[in-house]
Symmetry: C2
Subunit: 413 residues, 2 copies
Amino acid sequence: MRNLKIDARRLWDEIHETGKIGGTAKGGVRRLTLSDEDRQVRDWFAAKARSLGCTVSVDGVGNMFALRAGRDPNRLPIAMGSHLDTQPTGGKFDGILGVLAGVEVLQTLNDNNIETESPLLLINWTNEEGSRFSPAVMGSGAFTGALPLDEVLAKTDRDGISFSQAIDSIGYRGPDPVGNRPIAAYFELHIEQGPYLEAEGQTIGVVTLVQGIRWFNGTVKGQDAHAGTTPMHRRADAMLAFARLTDRIDTIARKHGPLAVATVGVVDVPSASINVVAGDVSFTVDIRDPDDAVLDQMEAEIRKAAQEIGGLNGTEIQLDCFWKAAPVPFDADCIASVRAAAEQSHYATRDCVSGASHDAAYMQGIVPSAMIFVPSQDGLSHNELEHSTLDHCGAGAQVLLDAVLNYDEKSRR
Amino acid sequence: MRNLKIDARRLWDEIHETGKIGGTAKGGVRRLTLSDEDRQVRDWFAAKARSLGCTVSVDGVGNMFALRAGRDPNRLPIAMGSHLDTQPTGGKFDGILGVLAGVEVLQTLNDNNIETESPLLLINWTNEEGSRFSPAVMGSGAFTGALPLDEVLAKTDRDGISFSQAIDSIGYRGPDPVGNRPIAAYFELHIEQGPYLEAEGQTIGVVTLVQGIRWFNGTVKGQDAHAGTTPMHRRADAMLAFARLTDRIDTIARKHGPLAVATVGVVDVPSASINVVAGDVSFTVDIRDPDDAVLDQMEAEIRKAAQEIGGLNGTEIQLDCFWKAAPVPFDADCIASVRAAAEQSHYATRDCVSGASHDAAYMQGIVPSAMIFVPSQDGLSHNELEHSTLDHCGAGAQVLLDAVLNYDEKSRR
């Protein structure tokens, strides 16, 4: 049995070396999609992959592919990947760990002169975060055909700069067609961004499923009124209706717990004034659960609550479901490769549901895929204080290496 | 007994003539303080007052004073007044009725060659609405010494233009010192902006009191978190705490009904995102009641609720009371003059509490004052659809005339 060990310290150093690109005073990273910081880290990644003997190619939306040849050039490559872009006040680990652990896997194989049966492919996806250009997981969405290419290129940021302009301005519109690249399987290492592994003292999460998500835009239509002269019983207060619905949405999520979550993240009152009863409120709702039937139920209950609450105070609440992603179960063979890899190193392991969406969820739509989680300190993510330990990062890279090798060996048989 | 009749049609025509200055497509008026529309209506007012034989003077914050001489130049003038500025999407009556009814009073006296014992003074206060420059009732606040002059001049609008720059740009910084102008009494006619007169079929509201007001800035401090990966029980959701407090504030106001009101009019989530549990929310609270003791109780209950709600979901709610206006009872003699005037014309009358603040509330702090209300259709105000009938506007002007004459006769005795 092979006994390859990745070098956790080398991985850790590279996380901190690249973390300087867009590094913030609080120890986080600001590396918005297709910004100059994104260009710098892409340049770093391309140079590093080439130094490891890979050929690097880039497609029309900037997705980067580092290919390490295998023994059998007729086999499809086994892929690893994640993303190097960050939230505006993001951390050093979200996405980055998955790409740099892939680099570490390639380095370890080189150091030990290992030739895999299949080629290996390490991918840096463009715009996973969706902060500058919405929606998120854009690069893998375009690659897998879920998002039409022309729509992606036409997206604009808040300053009116299009994706197309931005990608040319950093020179990362590559010649490869988007999506026309067969792959055998896809593995993604990521920090958990949640609390379970840490709370239960486990090192590796074997991700079996990305939970389903539904996003809603909501509006409440009431009647603007003078806050001083309008008696309580004459009001159609949109803010009050919004508040009651927000409270009910929380109750509905808890009722479907422990996995269901619901979040009212945005509220806007266009004509807000301290002495005006709000006539119009808009807001968003995000609901998630591993089971689509539970999402159906939650949605129905939220719609019923909205109707009841509006009826009680003379307002009308509308809910528009504008994004619906069904739960994505990962591939059994890929999951088995991850599980076996975690067992080989005797890591404490649990099965996980991914609360966030990831590039792997889109990839599972076209190739067998799986994900590996490592603990996030305090479950904190999308935050400059986001943290994972050197040991956990190393464990994740080790499992990524062994999962890929397990899959490679399986396909050899 | 005198039998002077104001000309309701003439008043109505002047309301509609001046309503063209800043007139909106929906029939409302947009005449922001110290804008060019404000200049135009001020020019109209000054010319009209001069055409009626008044001397017009302007003080250092743009308050305009039209003086009609009386028989006894040693007496202090009896004043009428209100404001010609409007909300951004305001109506044709709020404030405007009080000034133009004053014009109609002067015209009626001229038409009938009436010389009052005391001089009469008609005032157009600057920035009653407080929409462009905050706070509201600014001109009368400066006049009565409640607001320091240098603070008023330094206020800026959303574009960073100071009150000082704005007043010079329209040429309405007058030479009169602000506030150094003795007055015998002050009467203000205004639309009710509430539903009571219309609901009960009355024509004249004898306003006995302006209710007390307290304004709060609130903040909720929780923890930003990923909406997909943070279980419900691990959240410190500032939006949820805000929502629960808003609901409780409504309950507290109703408990102290029927007069108490409470409004959460503004909410802001600085880092709002559909997939982020909000860590920071700010909001405003406006509470009003005719009785300061009730306001004390309401404030205590709201603070207790904030503490409880924050404690339950791990957030911290702060409430800063940044404006506190005690209830203002009007002067008994002035109220009696209004009541007698309403009875003279056999108008159906009720005593009213003013839910809104008005320039008269500041004036009562330095001179005997009272207010007259006429019905607002559907209680609607701060709205382009704001409406009062020709008959009600006329009735208000008639009562204003007779109240002033009653007060003048009383002081003659």
